[in-house]
């Protein structure tokens, strides 16, 4: 398995509170991604990073921000959580060289906003 961990794995928070999810990789891959997965919508890209301090928005980026200060860590922040952000969040990594064109996923974080 690709070396990707996510923390926390489960979180319950209240509406209006800030939340930060962490993704950590040991593969030294260049690209990192945050997705959310909801019934009927599949996996939707929130933000992605193509290098340290280089990030870009995905299709559902409103209400989310990201930061990548080190190759191995990619943080997703909900500045003020809303109930519509209740979801399962997956981090993924990929590269663009050798056999690493595939994208590998972390175990996921289940976030509930009450």
């Amino acid at each position: 398995d690709a070396g990707i961990t996510q923390s926390p794995r489960h979180k319950v928070t209240e509406t209006g509170t800030p939340v930060t999810l962490r993704c950590h990789q040991t593969e030294n891959h260049r690209y990192m991604y945050w997705y959310r997965q909801d019934p009927g919508h599949g996996l939707r890209l929130i933000h992605y990073s193509y290098g340290v301090k280089d990030t870009d928005k995905g299709e559902v980026s409103d209400g989310y921000s990201v930061s990548r200060s080190k190759t191995e860590d990619f943080l997703l922040t909900l500045e003020s959580a809303t109930s519509s952000q209740t979801s399962v969040y997956f981090c993924a990594i990929s590269d663009s060289s050798g056999s690493s064109y595939e994208q590998y996923f972390g175990p996921g974080t289940r976030l509930t906003v009450t």
Partner: protein, 110 residues
């Protein structure tokens, strides 16, 4: 707008049946198409296809890509209950973004 569409949405079959899952796409700057299997956890990688007409095989699973008609199929022969899962199709662009379909839910009945 880039999109990936999978069909059928769900499928119920008996053990031993053969199934075909479909994935069509309209994505600019296509680079590759990927198939994943998702049981009640993170998606796990199955295949990556970049060239038309070259079938990828892994045991009872196989997949092929048609870049002219913009679709791919995933075949599973002699299905087993362990094949029950959601199968996801994704397209990678040259800009290294990934677009996912909503998946096909496969249930294999003993």
């Amino acid at each position: 707008e880039d999109k990936v569409v999978q069909s059928p949405l769900s499928l119920v079959v008996h053990e031993g049946d053969t199934v075909t899952l479909n994935c069509s796409y309209e994505v600019t700057n296509f680079r590759s198409l990927l198939w994943y299997k998702q049981e009640k956890k993170a998606p796990t990688f199955l295949f990556m296809l970049t060239s038309s007409g070259i079938e990828k095989k892994s045991g009872r699973l196989s997949s092929i890509l048609d870049k002219k008609e913009l679709f791919s199929i995933l075949n599973i022969t002699a299905t087993q209950t362990g094949d029950s899962a959601v199968y996801l199709c994704a397209v990678r662009t040259t800009g290294n973004q990934f677009y996912f379909g909503t998946g096909t839910s496969l249930t294999v009945i003993p």
